[in-house]
């Protein structure tokens, strides 16, 4: 988090570099970043896998009848997502539960790891969230046509509306359907990026002795908010995936 204090050619008092924390850089040496280069993205995604192994594998390895703390967390996560899939997308969506669980666990662990000082928040990048959102969009669309055939178009043809309104509504529904991956991905990346950038701006203000106490209070408050946002955005991403899945399985309103 030292980016803000780094010397710059225009270093006259306050220096703001709130976006430097999002720079992708190679872990070893320097040079151009190819698709296979081991970068800080690799490191922090790898750490999310390590965290996942700790919570979901090591924690549950005892298979205790009365769970300990670690096992409780694993079971809580399982029960939380499983119930969400069942309640939102319906009972026949349960086979897709591992996919939604994968997305939820990756996002929630990456968000929380990103809250560590000096860390790199992988989910703050639109490239990351867009891949997940587009994957969800494509999977749900393909699934909708596979399960319902042409009947999937009834998602856009609202039979409960007056006939005259239906073409207009269909246009709106189609536009909103294709906007889904955009809002789905930008919501997560934007939330994560904005919160982290704001914390970094407050941190830059801490360089002024007079403002620094206020700055520390503001950072603490923002950190608390970001902790909440980290979970809520993972939840929102997962629950929207469930809603889209429900539309694919039951397109009739």
């Amino acid at each position: 988090m030292a980016a803000a204090a780094q010397p710059s050619e225009k270093s006259d008092g306050l220096v703001f570099h709130p976006m430097d924390q999002f720079i992708v850089q190679p872990l070893f040496g320097s040079g151009p970043i190819h698709w296979y280069t081991v970068t800080n993205v690799t490191l922090w995604m790898g750490l999310s896998v390590v965290a996942l192994v700790l919570v979901m594998l090591v924690g549950t390895s005892k298979r205790a009848l009365v769970p300990g703390r670690a096992q409780s967390i694993g079971e809580l996560a399982y029960g939380f997502v499983h119930k969400m899939v069942e309640d939102v997308a319906g009972r026949d969506a349960v086979p897709y539960f591992p996919y939604i669980m994968t997305l939820f666990m990756f996002i929630v662990l990456s968000n929380f790891l990103g809250l560590l000082p000096m860390s790199f928040t992988t989910t703050s990048h639109i490239a990351v969230t867009a891949v997940m959102a587009i994957a969800v969009f494509l999977a749900v669309t393909v699934l909708g046509f596979v399960k319902n055939g042409v009947g999937f178009f009834s998602l856009f043809w609202i039979s409960s509306a007056p006939l005259a309104l239906r073409p207009a509504l269909a246009l709106i529904e189609i536009i909103s359907y294709f906007v889904r991956p955009v809002s789905h991905s930008i919501r997560l990346a934007g939330n994560m990026m904005a919160g982290h950038a704001v914390i970094k701006v407050f941190a830059a203000f801490a360089g002024v002795a007079l403002i620094s106490p206020l700055s520390v209070v503001a950072i603490t408050a923002m950190y608390a908010l970001e902790t909440l946002v980290s979970f809520i955005q993972a939840y929102v991403f997962a629950i929207l995936t469930c809603v889209y899945l429900k539309d694919a399985l039951h397109p009739h309103h």
Binding site: Q6, D20, Q25, T39, L57, T60, T102, F106
Partner: protein, 181 residues
Amino acid sequence: MAASTDQVASKCIDGYGSAIGMPQLCGDWMANQIFWLVVTLVIIFLILSRIALPRIAEVLADRQSTITNYLTASEELKSKAEEAERAYTQALNDARSEASRLLDASKAEMKKELQAAINKADAEISVKVGESEKSIAEIRNNAMASIEKVAKDTAKEIVVALGAKADAKTINAAVSSKMKG
């Protein structure tokens, strides 16, 4: 995190290692991020779907079945306890009725004994009363005889004292007739 200053300046990083614009929009890095994201998601999916989720599902099912077993066992024990309570109540009622039966019997016996004792005492008392009456009558008769004799003697003395000749026979007859009243 600060970019190391030895990093080659690119179209996304200036000469001082700071970001130019939003790093999120830097096209040079996207392929790298997408590649590692796909790798990560595949690993997470394999860990979850192959090991973690079946294991947790199994643990939860085990717990559910254990709870169900315990519930059935407790239901059984409860019915047993209820049965035992019924038996206990039955025994208690039996004991109560037996006790009251015994109480009644002993009451009746005691009453009989008491009656017999009362009768015996009454008989003894009446014998005693008879004897007493007899002795009282005897005493009274003796007393009457003594009084008569004293009266006769007194009358004789009075007659003599008055200077008349005491005719014993006449005086005795007169006193006896007076005493009979």
